[in-house]
């Protein structure tokens, strides 16, 4: 399974219908025409009106009053972005089993597990209620879920955090009144990306970097738009293998037949291997194929297994850790030289 569903992946017809219902149910008559993305989606920031005692926030799910001094913030799918600006949620949904993503776990020791995020009704409303949130910030596609959350506490709906992480981090800063902290965290992120882009650009010198996921009996190649793809190919400007564009296009991922392995022209290959039973054996089975051994990366011995949790995480902290992995594997001398002192890790070291 994916650690996180693509937050803005082209929805299925079912999702579209529910999304339309959500917009219809939550929008006020004054809202923009349907073809204009609502606040809190894509690159449209939330709209915040300060008033005595709090602020009104216009967001993807409508308009919500956020009182001053909210302490207990529960989230559905945005823990990465909250933690990135130093806000620890009291509850979050989980992935990859019953708990939070491994890189979030140290920060969420006292948080309540609110259920899974993959199934339409996987958010456990009883757990959300038990977490006693003052405010819920959720990335949910289903109107029913958003409405149910709003019955528990004021709920703000944000979307597209995976494709527009900086916009969502700024939104969270504006919603919680910590704009300066959000900007500082984003500045740290930009410094890190700029340094990594420079170092990796010089190290790789145009060589290609590809990502495959090993599953039982099949390999999936991941594209440039989702999960680790934007970090590799947009943030860091790395070159994808030709087959990525050919097979994945603008989608999330695509099945890669073994016959095409010799054509998978990745100079550096990163393998996402889930900690699921049988997957290691599956990888060994694939690796015994002559077609695997003909891949450029395999011929060079440049195949690296990485932690699937943050490579498929999609959140802003997960993306930061993907950069760390790339640096450790491809440019360890730059780290040893202190080039990235203060820039490694999932979030700025000074985060409270």
């Amino acid at each position: 399974m994916h650690a996180r569903r693509p937050r803005t992946a082209p929805p299925h017809a079912y999702d579209l219908a529910l999304l339309a219902l959500a917009v219809a149910a939550c929008s006020t008559p004054q809202q923009a025409a349907p073809d204009v993305a609502p606040p809190g989606t894509a690159d449209h920031p939330v709209e915040v009106d300060r008033v005595d005692g709090g602020r009104w926030v216009r967001h993807a799910g409508g308009r919500t009053f956020v009182p001053d001094g909210v302490q207990r913030i529960a989230t559905v799918g945005l823990a990465d972005e909250l933690l990135f600006i130093g806000v620890t949620p009291v509850g979050e949904v989980g992935s990859w089993g019953s708990r939070f993503l491994p890189h979030q776990q140290p920060f969420l020791e006292d948080a309540t597990y609110l259920g899974g995020e993959h199934l339409p009704h996987a958010v456990r409303l009883e757990a959300v209620f038990a977490a006693r949130p003052d405010l819920i910030i959720a990335e949910v596609a289903l109107a029913d879920t958003a409405r149910a959350l709003a019955d528990i506490a004021p709920t703000i709906v944000l979307r597209d955090a995976e494709t527009h992480p900086e916009a969502r981090v700024r939104d969270l800063g504006a919603i919680l009144g910590v704009e300066a902290r959000a900007e500082a965290a984003l500045a740290w992120r930009r410094r890190k990306l700029a340094a990594a882009r420079e170092v990796l650009g010089a190290t790789l010198d145009g060589q290609t970097v590809g990502v495959l996921r090993v599953q039982l009996r099949r390999l999936k190649v991941y594209g440039a738009r989702w999960f680790c793809g934007p970090t590799l190919y947009d943030d860091l400007g790395l070159r994808p293998p030709t087959l990525v564009a050919e097979r994945v296009g603008r989608g999330v991922n695509a099945w890669l037949p073994l016959e095409l392995l010799p054509d998978f022209d990745a100079d550096h290959l990163f393998l996402m291997v889930a900690p699921a039973p049988g997957i290691r054996s599956a990888l060994e089975g694939v690796a015994e194929s002559p077609a695997w051994r003909l891949m450029p990366a395999a011929r060079r011995g440049d195949v690296h297994t990485v932690d699937i949790h943050h490579w498929l995480g999609g959140g802003v902290m997960a993306r930061s850790l993907v950069v760390d992995d790339l640096l450790r594997i491809l440019a360890p001398e730059a780290i040893a030289a202190g080039r990235f002192d203060g820039l490694l890790g999932p979030r700025p070291p000074a985060s409270p």
Binding site: M1, Q215, L216, A276, P277, S281, S289
Partner: protein, 330 residues
């Protein structure tokens, strides 16, 4: 059907099977010129073509042929030995039992080898067969549909256990494909594990075929021919478990092949299992290699599991058999 005409039918079957196998080796996602293909087959190919043809396509085609033959012959033996036209490894729950067993093996025996997975599958298939046959064929009540009902109950129960394990262990995407059956990514090591069990099972089936023919006439008739019905039936069902378990361990549950193919070949070569067994092996191999080729060609960009193709096709054929009433006469 005369011996001469059935021999001609078998010869035609061999030719068709060889043709489909050749097409399957020659076709795939990557275009390989015929000259390069032949050079590879003759041991003088370039590394990429060798890797694609000999390393990827050939094990998959061989596995498809073995699995198709195994499931079809298992179905034929099961129908003959139980005198139940609706018997088959998938409908009777054998495939699901083997699938659950392999899933348990994968979950609790990390790094389980292909050969060990096969052993686990045999256990699952044998347990499911024992339960289904106890509930169905030997229950003493009802007709052929009783085994189907017992199998349906088993399939539902064991299927729920499979889904429960997959959900509990958060294995949806990683194991989903395997639990729907298919031959993508089959390697030579799996073929090496599959082949001996399948060849052994097919050999046993050939040896048992005359006795199964007698058994298909009824226990009394078999007894009058000096046959020990219970012993023959047990041997035949052991053979079924061997064949179905081996097939499921490599390909996962592929539905309906074992049910439909015996009926199809019975219409071509008659009711003598000495002809039905080899014909079912040929037809099953041809059908599954062809279906897998179809999946590969039609779904070049979407990895449609083979079970998703054989199940609706087999289901439609099953309904047609029931509709025409042919299934009643083994």
């Amino acid at each position: 059907m005369t011996r001469r005409s059935s021999t001609g039918t078998l010869a035609l079957g061999v030719a068709v099977c060889a043709g489909v196998l050749a097409c399957a080796v020659a076709s795939g996602t990557r275009s390989v010129p015929t000259a390069s293909l032949w050079r590879s087959v003759l041991g003088a190919g370039d590394p990429v073509t060798d890797a694609v043809v000999l390393g990827v396509r050939l094990p998959r085609v061989v596995a498809a042929a073995l699995v198709g033959a195994a499931l079809s012959v298992a179905g034929a033996l099961m129908q003959g030995a139980t005198r139940n036209p609706l018997a088959g490894p998938s409908l009777a729950g054998l495939n699901t039992g083997a699938t659950l067993a392999v899933l348990c093996g994968v979950l609790w025996l990390p790094g389980v080898s292909a050969t060990a997975a096969m052993g686990v599958a045999f256990v699952g298939a044998a347990a499911a067969a024992a339960v289904a046959l106890t509930l169905g064929a030997f229950g003493g009540l009802g007709g052929p549909s009783r085994l189907v009902l017992a199998g349906a109950t088993l399939n539902l129960t064991l299927g729920a256990a499979i889904v429960g394990l997959v959900v509990h262990h958060q294995l949806h995407m990683d194991l989903l494909y395997w639990t729907t059956g298919g031959l993508i990514g089959v390697t030579w090591s799996q073929v090496r594990a599959l082949a001996p069990a399948t060849v052994l099972g097919l050999g046993l089936a050939v040896l048992l075929a005359p006795s199964v023919t007698a058994l298909s006439l009824g226990d009394d008739a078999a007894g009058s021919l000096g046959l020990r019905a219970a012993r023959t039936r047990a041997l035949a069902l052991g053979c079924v478990v061997l064949l179905a378990g081996a097939a499921v361990a490599v390909a996962g549950p592929i539905g309906f092949v074992g049910l439909i193919v015996p009926h199809l070949v019975r219409g071509l070569v008659g009711g003598d299992y000495r002809r039905i067994v080899p014909a079912a092996a040929l037809a099953g191999a041809t059908l599954l290699v062809g279906a897998d080729l179809g999946v590969r060609l039609l779904a070049e960009r979407v990895d449609v599991p083979l079970g998703c193709v054989t199940a609706p096709v087999g289901g439609a054929a099953f309904v047609a058999l029931l509709w025409r009433g042919r299934a009643v006469a083994t």
